[in-house]
Symmetry: C2
Subunit: 344 residues, 2 copies
Amino acid sequence: MTNQIEIDHYAEAGVNIDEGTHTVELMSAAVRATYGKEVLAGIGAFGGMFDVSAFKNMQQPVLVASTDGIGTKVHLAAQFNRLHSLGYDIVNHSVNDILVQGAKPLFFLDYLATSKLEAEKMASIVIGMAAACQAVNCALLGGETAEMPGIYMPNTFDVAGTIVGVVERSQALPRDNLTENDVLLGLTSSGPHTNGYSLIRKILANVDLSKTYAELDVPLIDALLAPHRSYLTILQKAMEHPASPIKALIHITGGGFLENIPRVLPKHLAAEIHLNSWPVPALFNFIQQHGNIPLEQMYRVLNMGIGMIIVTAPENVSLLEELITEPLWQIGQLISGEKRVQLK
Amino acid sequence: MTNQIEIDHYAEAGVNIDEGTHTVELMSAAVRATYGKEVLAGIGAFGGMFDVSAFKNMQQPVLVASTDGIGTKVHLAAQFNRLHSLGYDIVNHSVNDILVQGAKPLFFLDYLATSKLEAEKMASIVIGMAAACQAVNCALLGGETAEMPGIYMPNTFDVAGTIVGVVERSQALPRDNLTENDVLLGLTSSGPHTNGYSLIRKILANVDLSKTYAELDVPLIDALLAPHRSYLTILQKAMEHPASPIKALIHITGGGFLENIPRVLPKHLAAEIHLNSWPVPALFNFIQQHGNIPLEQMYRVLNMGIGMIIVTAPENVSLLEELITEPLWQIGQLISGEKRVQLK
């Protein structure tokens, strides 16, 4: 229920912030740094205030909102005390979730809940969130921290959040002109992002995660905890281009390729994914081999190295290659069919 | 990450909704019933879309957003399988939290997380949320349900949510004209609302909650689980009155009287609360006696029968009594002082 400075979290939860550590002080500054002129500071505000007078310059402003959590990746992060990156995970995941509707973020609110509140740890997560918010010009407008022994297992916590963004209705994605032979362009992921960790943890339960295996060039835990990438900045120019080369964006989250691609398909179209058309990162092969997992399940649970897919007309591929300054993998195309995904 | 119909929750979480029970079907209809024309349905949307073109008729539209949970009240509710009312709890709590800034709700997004997803139970909560949203003309725009064994204790869950509302900046509360001798008017609560349950559960750990005690006219559990009241409808006329008789609203949540009242006070004002100026409901006395709790702690943790406080000028009390059709308890006044609350 608090706002303005997330430090209120701790006051509310009964944590004495006079004991405030350096991390907690840093948190306060980090959150403030996300505030643009739109964020109105009120005395003792219960909710965060965000001025949207600028919407008056839009034709038909539409708010796009999404709530999500980062699932059991928190387990791994907690085990290795790598909390900072969880903040990036939840914010970037959320940014991508509304990006696929064409929206740019306005503000984010977090929800942290735990069995026993430890200010330092929570502050680390919030600092990560603030940094991720600042990178995409999004205010970390508020949040809530709850201490709930008896609900959460000892030494565990949950991280969730809500993002609100805006899009001009005429610019919203997906567009309604998807058609056969449209090309699917894949953007590289930084790792499994925030999905598939229940499976990953099960498979790797008896594996030394701190070891650097021959197949990987970093310790396994580093590969597993790489923060979820935000695709906002890299896609911005292409999204704003007058030729509208992006017909749809697909964020590869829980449900992998098989369940996320159909979300943008009209009834009469299906997608064909060309396996081996991009370099699947070694981590995914490592997971597959250790778990002896069928290929289809891999593509249903994990992103396989592709975090975001662009749907575009074949004639716009070269324009997109100019506008987006990183590799665009031609991973497949739309075909006639019934909202299905075919791995070829 | 889903939207539109909360039923997606279950599909995403791997629950087969073809096994759909009557409750799950009801949920889908209940959520749809909260959608006005502002809610835009898109194919496979990742985030909920809410048209705010109407903001163009406002001078300076300001979004007000708040994230909160309902704390350990979920424990009691789960124990007695009274899940429906938790939906009202989280929504009404949130509605009140932004009401104190003068905002009316636009939409709400929920976050439900549990050790093991049981569709019937989650649907009961969502149906309660939808009903509470519909009552205040708020869209239940989206949400997320997470199954996280190992994070949540077996058979437990957490309920949180985010509300987004709007206020014309010139109408935002609190106003800047609070002054000595302003009157505090209390509005009745329906029970402890959503705060103080960790204390309550500790105190009543060995008490039979299903019994109707002499002091109470209903079973103890009914009194404890009475849903959080929304004050939006009852206050609407007074908030829209051209004389602006409401200077500030104070939602009595976690922190009770002692920590919430100062949130609206300028540096040079304090509040004096006149004990015995309103009828404290029997439940609070029951709790106090069983726990042998100091009076000050009661007022720091619980709402003592007052869920919302209006700050107004003495000359506007009678106008408010006309505009608000239920008892307004004159529970205290503003005095010179330093943002403190004095119980008298």
